[in-house]
């Protein structure tokens, strides 16, 4: 028997106080296997010990929420007996170590979270943050991550329809890879993870267990230093072919009524899946590891319990249904084994080679897991409007901004993702939100992921609000009614009070916005300790969100469609340059207050715009965010090469007007007669609105004076990414 020494306890990431608590709960010294189980279940990754207290403050209820946080994914009602199931999750640390496999297994993991609930995945998104383009590692990481996401998602036959890519030096040593999966199910066919009842068989499905990623879960909760690149554990390798079989086999089994509970094996594999299922069902679980399908010889109980081999699921069946289930998995050529039974003891008992290697109360792993109200130090938000050079020419700045790393087209990325498979993608990447039809109907789901990390360091609260508001705005801009949110909270080390403050304020900001916009949080994921050598990332609370369109034929897109349309901006432009793209790209400074979000105005303006789209009165809409008004207009001109002539009489300061990042704004374009009515209606409703000019020609013209060719803007916009990647190394391939 391995002796439990203080050093071993420390290696497992458990503090002295936590170990003392374990001794108390067990009433004895834990075995080595038990120590391993505690270490993963009490890790930040599985227990949310630093954030649980604060996450409780998020609004999670609405009449259309079928399942909020607490299950593998959240579920919402989208009418007609249909349900939409979605979740977002990070795979940050593994992707930094091995970008291809890290990103690929991230995609595989989040898909399992969604199909384990009975949904067929219909769309994938990914929110990516990399270090500065000039950092020697960046290109390699971009290349590997994009190939990994495509390699896995394309093979699964699920369209990857959008996401985000940002570059910032704070991610130089710690990239973020957040993947989101959206699935569809019937409301009467949703599967949960509560292993209710005693005497039911516990079955193992999928790939064999190997020594993959042992301690991955604890690794995901520990800070990096330069040496950790050498100490890396066995990286998990994704097998999308097996996952595709697993998906089809699970859906086939779910069509029967053999399942009591089912849960994917994600981080901390067998340990967390069995403990969570027992915990939720209020029952005990007894496992016999001798029956676990094994890929390698001589695996120990410790290794099997902690393995993070991919493409595996655990299910509890109704007694007597084993043969029926086995036949399905054999047909799909997957491993299937009965490895245990549920009990009425509320204990997790693990046997190996005839010996009991672990025997512990399940509540010790769940309810009793530590929860910390970590101390935090409030910091006043950065305030003030930064100075700027009034002499800079507006159109030259526009061109520079459109060709800058954070603003340039992401076509290089999304053309490597199959975004049209399943033949329901009605809005492809590049617009405000992806739109995917509900197969065989006229309904559609709009999907987006958003956060502006540059707003979140100067003002974590407003940054959190803004992330939600922007997601809501993007869904609105295509004509969808925003329904719910899944968050992915990426932050630094919560044991530092100044970082803990960023987390707390960020969650408060998200909560405030979600409440004001009727936009409940139905799931999420926290990734903490994102720092290298003591330097934290920008706070990055990514928001994934889904909205519903009743009639997809009314969908709006960003592209100008006709010459002669009137260009209108809805919402007030004050010229907020603080933390703007303009200031950073043109003046080289990250300064000033983050733009505040007035949630009441946000809602009013958005509801107004959505009403126009739903009524079929407007088909051309773009939300106005990163880069400001003129950038939004240019982005509407680029897709079809239709220009516009815009201006506003009596502008005192052109630069803040055209490039300020005031919130709650939309640009729309519509024929004259309709435009007149819309402006009048907006004014009557107390909504700020301005006519800026007309579409047409192949130039963007400002104040009837200066022009720039749309083609010239487009060359820069489309050119940056391919040029950046051209110094590219060889794509990772099989």
């Amino acid at each position: 028997m391995t002796k439990i020494t203080p050093a071993l306890v420390k290696e497992h990431g458990l503090s002295d106080a936590e170990y003392k608590k374990i001794l108390g709960l067990m009433g004895r010294e834990p075995s080595f296997v038990e120590l391993g189980i505690f270490s993963v279940m009490w890790s930040e990754h599985c227990s949310y010990k630093s954030t649980r207290f604060h996450l409780k403050k998020l609004p999670t209820k609405a009449p259309w929420v079928i399942q909020g946080p607490g299950e593998n994914a959240g579920v919402i009602d989208i009418g007609d007996g249909d349900a939409c199931i979605f979740k977002m999750e990070s795979h940050n640390h593994p992707s930094f170590i091995e970008p291809y496999q890290g990103a690929a297994t991230g995609v595989g993991g989040i898909m399992r979270d969604v199909f384990t609930m009975g949904a067929r995945p219909i769309a994938m998104m990914n929110a990516l943050r990399f270090g500065e383009p000039s950092h020697p590692k960046t290109r390699h990481l971009v290349n590997g991550v994009v190939h990994g996401i495509g390699g896995y998602g394309n093979c699964m036959g699920v369209p990857t329809v959008g996401g985000e890519v940002n570059f910032h030096r704070s991610y130089n040593g710690n990239i973020l890879v957040n993947a989101m999966c959206v699935g569809l199910a019937r409301q009467d066919k949703i599967f949960l993870s509560a292993a209710k009842g005693a005497g039911n068989p516990v079955v193992y499905i999928g790939s064999k267990t190997g020594r993959d990623g042992i301690h991955g879960a604890t690794m995901a909760s520990a800070e990096f230093d330069d040496a950790s690149e050498e100490k890396r554990p066995t990286v998990q390798v994704g097998d999308p072919f097996t996952e595709k079989l697993l998906l089809e086999a699970c859906l086939e089994l779910m069509a029967t009524d053999a399942i009591i509970a089912i849960q994917d094996m994600g981080a901390a594999g067998l340990t967390s899946s069995s403990a969570e299922m027992g915990d939720k069902g209020g029952s005990g679980i007894e496992l016999d590891l001798d029956h676990v399908p094994q890929r390698e010889a001589n695996m120990t109980a410790y290794e099997m319990m902690l393995s993070e081999s991919q493409e595996r699921m655990l299910a509890v069946l109704k007694p007597g249904r084993e043969a029926q289930a086995e036949a399905i998995f054999k047909k799909w050529e997957l491993d299937f084994a009965v490895i245990g039974i549920t009990t009425d003891t509320s204990r997790l008992v693990v046997k190996h080679k005839g010996e009991v290697v672990a025997d512990m109360p399940i509540t010790a792993l769940s309810d009793e897991a530590p929860v910390y109200e970590r101390p935090y130090t409030e910091r006043a938000p950065v305030t003030g409007a930064p100075a700027y050079d009034k002499s800079k020419p507006v159109l030259a700045s526009l061109k520079t901004i459109l060709a800058s790393p954070d603003m340039a087209s992401r076509r290089w990325v999304w053309e490597q993702y199959d975004h049209t498979v399943m033949a329901d993608t009605v809005q492809v990447p590049g617009g405000d939100a992806a739109v995917v039809r509900v197969h065989g109907t006229n309904k559609a789901l709009a999907i987006t992921t958003d956060v502006s990390p540059r707003y979140c360091r100067p003002d974590p609260f407003e940054g959190g609000k803004q992330a939600v508001a922007e997601a809501w705005r993007n869904l609105t801009a295509v004509g969808a009614l925003p329904l719910a949110v899944t968050d992915n909270l990426n932050y630094g080390n919560p044991q530092k009070p100044e970082i803990m403050w960023e987390i707390v304020a960020g969650i408060d900001g998200i909560g405030a916005a979600c409440r004001a916009l009727d936009f409940p949080v139905i799931g999420g994921n926290c990734s903490l300790y994102n720092e290298t050598n003591g330097e934290g990332i920008l706070p990055t609370p990514a928001i994934g969100a889904v909205g519903l369109m009743q009639d997809v034929s009314k969908m709006a897109t960003v592209a100008f469609k006709r010459a002669g349309d009137v260009v209108i901006v809805i919402g007030e432009t004050r010229g907020h340059l603080g933390q703007s793209i303009y200031l950073r790209e043109i003046e080289g400074r990250e300064e000033g207050a983050s733009p505040p979000v007035d949630l009441a105005v946000e809602r009013k303006n958005g509801d107004f715009v959505r009403g126009l789209i739903e009524a079929g009165r407007v088909d051309t809409v773009h939300d106005c965010s990163d880069g400001g008004l003129l950038v939004a207009i240019a982005e509407m001109a680029l897709p079809r090469g239709i220009g516009a002539s815009v201006g506003l009489a009596g502008l005192p300061d052109a630069i803040p007007f055209w490039f300020g990042e005031d919130q709650a704004r939309y640009v729309i374009a519509t024929p004259f007669a309709e435009a007149e009515k819309i402006v009048a209606e907006a004014r009557a409703a107390g909504i700020t609105v301005a006519e800026l000019g007309k579409t047409g020609g192949d130039l963007v013209t400002l104040d009837d004076k200066n022009s720039i060719a749309v083609a010239e803007l487009k060359a820069g916009f489309e050119g940056w990414f391919p040029k950046f990647m051209a110094g590219e190394e060889i794509p990772v391939t099989n």
Partner: protein, 80 residues
């Protein structure tokens, strides 16, 4: 000079391709086939004639580019 570099997955690292190939071969009636692992072979033409220098170069190429040493190992063969 000609060199051949083999790049194979480290022991213990899952090899989905190898697994699928083994499965297919069994299915085709090749019952004698046990574990299968797939790797890459890279054939290079090298100028110069110093074998030791070439080996050192090849090693550097593997570490820097050819192998993903997180999951792969490599072998180098010089063919004079």
């Amino acid at each position: 000079m000609k060199a051949r570099v083999f790049i194979t997955l480290k022991n213990g690292v899952l090899d989905p391709q190898g697994k699928a190939i083994g499965h297919a071969l069994n299915g085709l009636g090749f019952g004698s086939v046990g574990e299968v692992r797939q790797g890459k072979v890279i054939d290079l033409e090298l100028s110069g004639s110093d074998a030791e220098a070439a080996k050192a170069d090849l090693k550097a190429m593997c570490e820097k580019l050819l192998a993903n040493t997180v999951i792969e190992k490599y072998e180098i063969e010089l063919k004079g």
